[in-house]
Structure formats: structure tokens, C-alpha cells
Amino acid sequence: MTGTELTLSKAINAGLRRALESDPRVMLMGEDVGRLGGVFRVTDGLAKDFGEDRVMDTPLAESGIVGTAVGLALRGYRPVCEIQFDGFVYPAFDQIVTQVAKMRFRSSGQAVASVVVRIPYGGGIGAVEHHSESPEAYFVHTPGLRVVTPSTPEDGYWMVQQAIASDDPVIFLEPKRRYWDKGLVQTDAADPQAPLFAGRTERAGTDVVLVAYGPMVRTCLEAAEVAAEEGHSVGVLNLRSLSPLDWPLVLDAARATGRMVVVHEASRRAGLGAEIAARVSEECFYSLEAPVLRVTGYDTPYPPSRMEEVWLPDVDRVLDAVEAVLA
């Protein structure tokens, strides 16, 4: 495979650059996305090359960012908003839930808020409070939104372009602890290999299937590796899209193995894992050999960073669940 070796953050940067190049309606907006290039440098160099009108340092107000993006979209632009950290998306929650998500529906398709909201999310980087949240379930529960999350540089590069091209509003979740992971990216390909809303089997397995997304894909792959050494064939699905969900992929895998573990960082209660476990339990009722287990963050606020290792799902906890469903 040819391509360029990039980190996830640089891959998203390259994807944004290509979107800015290919569609003059695309613009980026957010706190510190301009001169600084974003606190994670995902927009590095873009203000310089595309100008402040297209890569805009905004006032410090998330509702303002998303709310004005809606207006820009109504004027025909394709705004890509950056929320600086997961924990700061809530001031924009009203605009996202009551305006962005419903615009197409309430206007019978006559007005559409084609807005992308990029959010670096998840923990594991030793950050202070509000910098390690996993808010995906809120958005998945909200009809009218699309929610996707890349976990590799290749996906970061393509999915961000696909999200921007999508006529639906997309919550684009970037697993911040994977920003520095490297991978080959087909930056010279004309088109992406996979549709935006398709999941992917990252590793085949016949005994148990792990379902993961974003930051936990790598964790699950590592767990599968260990499990293999212990003689268990463990598969890993990468959902990529959380809403809509690639149900055929998930349900087929559950039917094939009869054993499934869902893994995410977000708290368990009414998290996305609940939806997957519920749906799999319903539709694969007669194929399941064991209950679908969930390995998730606990139902507590995200703890201080020196305790995050205990809070976050890790290889051990995943393996524990694998053993439990195999028992």
C-alpha cells in the first residue's frame, strides 16, 4: 500500500485542507483555530493559506459558534465548527439539539443546517477536568444528527471530507488520545474506500466479537492480540459511524460468534453500549451463546487524571469480559 505516513491529527488537517480547496463554501470556525492552528494543531497552517474569512478565530462562546454556523449554512456555506474539548460542547447543546438537528425536518427539507461539529473527545491523556469526556450518547440519542468517529489516520482524512460533503449535520468525534497515532493515508486517491456510515471489521474472530469505536478500537485490537495468545479467536468491529449504526455488520457478527462485548469510554448507563446490547439481544436472541457484555467507563463523573486509568476500559477489563462471555 502506498500513501503518506501521517498522524491522525495531521491526517484530519490534510482532509480539512482538501475540503477547503475543493469547495469554496467550506469554512472552519472555532476558538484558536486560526493563528494558533487549534490547541491540537488540527487546523495548523490553514488560516495562513485560506485566510481568516475561511478559517475563523471566533469569540469564546460555543453557542455562538454553532448558532452562527447555522446561519452561515442557511446562507449556503458549509461551516466546520471546532469545539475545543469535549467538555465544552454543552453551551452549544441547545443550538445542536433544537436547531441543527431539527432544521431539515422542521422546514420539510427547505432549509438545512449542513454543519459539521468537530469535537476532540475521550480521556487517557492526563488532562484536567472537562477535557476527557465522551458525550457521544447525547448526540446518538438526538434524531437528525449524524455521529461519526474515525480511529485511524486514513479514516480521519477521508471521513472528515465525507462529513463536510454530507448534507446532514455531522458530529465528528476525534479520539484525542489517538491524535498522535501514525498510519498510512491515501492522500492521492480520488475517493474514499468506504462510505461514511459503514462500520468495518478490523480483525476477524470466531469466538467472540468486540464492538468498539474511536479510542477503544486500538485497545480492543490489543486485547484481541493477547486473547489470541491465549488461544481465543477474538474479532474487532470498528463502528466508525455511531448514528446511523451499521447494524448488518454488528448483527451478522453477533450471529456468527454468539458472543459479543461492547466497549466504550463513556459511562454505561444509557450509553451507546446499551443500544447495541439491547438491539443485538433482541435481534440475535436465538443465536447468542452468552449475554452481550459492556465494558465502559463507570457511572461517575470522569475522575482526576491520576485515577483515569482505573476508570477507563483497558485491555485487562476487555479480556475479563471476553473470558466472562466464553465461560
Binding site: G64, T68, L74, Q99, R104, A111, R146, L245
Partner: protein
Amino acid sequence: MSDLVQLLTPEGVRVADDTYDPWVADVDDQTMRSLYRDLVLVRRFDTEAVALQRQGELGLWASLLGQEGAQVGAGRALRAHDAAFPTYREHGVAWCRGVDPLDVLGLFRGVTLGGWDPRRHGMHLYTIVIGAQTLHATGYAMGVQRDGAVGTGDPDRDTAVLAFFGDGATSQGDVNEAFIWASVTNAPVVFFCQNNQWAISEPLERQSRIPLFRRAHGFGFPGVRVDGNDVLACLAVTRAALARAREGSGPMLVEAFTYRMGAHTTSDDPTRYRVEAELEQWRLKDPVERVKAYLLRGGLADPDWLDALDAEAEQLAERVRTGCRALPEPDPAAVFDHVYAVLDPDLAAQRDEIARMAALLEQVDA
């Protein structure tokens, strides 16, 4: 009240204003009559809608009674390619933007959440979440800037945006953020606050201890208070503010000082929180009557013309009455239309569930 811009007194006397007279220099007798016509028809429409709600034809109605002057003045100040972002009460603006009154009813009847094509009319859909639309208006104006449609001097190109909201809305974070964004970006947006003195049961004192138009000064752009029951003054002030925005001088706040003569909505009972005496006061400042007085005083309208207008108003009412009842019931399966650009298989399955249930019920009924 020297702060208040007024061109027509409550008695219908035209008063001079050096600053704002030029903005209505083109308003001849014919235009005055057409303004009056808008006021009368909009009020008649509103009255009919209230009646329709009472008859159970609408789930709810938010009456504009008393605010016709502010809305027609502001609405008529817009140019075709400008854009308005309303609340849920701007029926008079919708009228001026050519939105069919029947399309306005849809939302209140519960057959749609929208009702018209926002682009065609240069008027966004009604927004019920207080203040949210002020950010949309500001963003839209930022788009106008990016399109190079500000300050070119070409009247067919230069564009302004008019954001509507109420006195209560000024307390929302979103509205204040909109002020900041507009100020910082110098966006061509005019904030048009109809201060009708009440936010449901709460008087203005619950939202501010100083006049609202002064809020703008703290954000670094001008604010002005206009007699909201004076359609001419509203037209002049809004025209001036829009022109300023179009030429690239940035945002402005217009506070139209008016009064909500009716209930907040048909669900509300204002006798619980305000006194009749206040209404009496404001009845003397009625926005429709004062233009009529002006027309009569100047001999600009004769009884025939007035009768014809009354007849036109009755026709409108009749059309609204019949048309409302005839609004097509939504198709149940339309619940799944326009949720997304493309229906995903999951939602398609849910839609089929509805269809299956409907079929089942039909069988049962049959």
C-alpha cells in the same frame, strides 16, 4: 421620552425629525395608504386566527395585536434580497415578505413545523426557542459579508439581515452572544427588539433595569428606541439601520417600544398578572388607528376606499377561515420525511412499522 423616535403621534399628526425624515421622504400618500392597508389586513388576519383557535381549528395562536405598526414598519423596510429571522409572533413581517397567511397557520394548526420556503421569501422559519434565531441571523449576515454583498454601493447586491426578538429574549445568552458576534465581525445585521412590555407574565423589570436599546452601547454599536406603534417611524428607523448595515457600518439595535394588547398566546390568561388600566393607556396609542387618523385628517382616504379595504379584510378573513380548515392533514408516514438527506435502513424499518400498523388498523376498521 425624548429618546423615542416618533414621526406620527398617537393622534395621527406627522411630526418632524431631522434624522429620520429623509428615510421616509419617498413615502407619498399612496404609500401611506398601502401601509395602512397592511396594518388593517394583518390585524384582520390575526383576529381571525384567534377565532380559529377558539373554534379548535388551531392548537395555539400567538397574537400580534398591538404590534402591527412595529412589524409592518420593519417588514416593509426590508428589500427583496434581505433576510428576516422571526420569532413566533411576526405574522405582520411574514405578510410583508409575501408569505401566505395560510402558510403561517400550519405551524399553529399542527400540520407542519415550518410552513414556507425561507429562501423564496427571504424569511426564515418561525423559531420558538427564545433567542436562537438571533445567532442564525448573525451567521447569515457573516455569510453575506463573505459573499461580498456589503458596502459595494450596488443596491441590488448589498444585503442586510433583520433579526426579531422580544424584550424577554434579551436575557438569553444567545441574544447577547449574537450582539457580540455581530459587533466583533461588523456583520450587516439589525437587531429588532419588539419590547411589548411583557414576556408572558413578566414585566420588563424582570429582564432589565434600564431601557433595552442601551444594551447595544455596552457591546459597541448603536441602539435606538422607536415608537413601535408608529409604523412610519419604524419604517424610517429600520430603513436607516438596514442601510447602515448594508453599507458595511455594522450592526444596530432597534428597540420598538410597543405593547402586547392580547394574551401571550391563546393559552394565556393575562388578567392574572396585569391590570386593565395599562391596556387603556396603550389603546390610545393604537398603531392602526393613528394611521387612519392621519389619512382622514389629510383627506388621503375617503369612505369608499376605507369600505373597500374593509371588504378586502373580510375577504382575507374568509379565505383564512376556509383555507385553514382545508389545510391538508399530514400523512403519518411523513414523520420519516426530511429527517435526513437519505433515510437510513434503521429508520426505514421504523417507517415500515408505522405503515404496517396503519394497515392493521385499517383492517380492524374495515
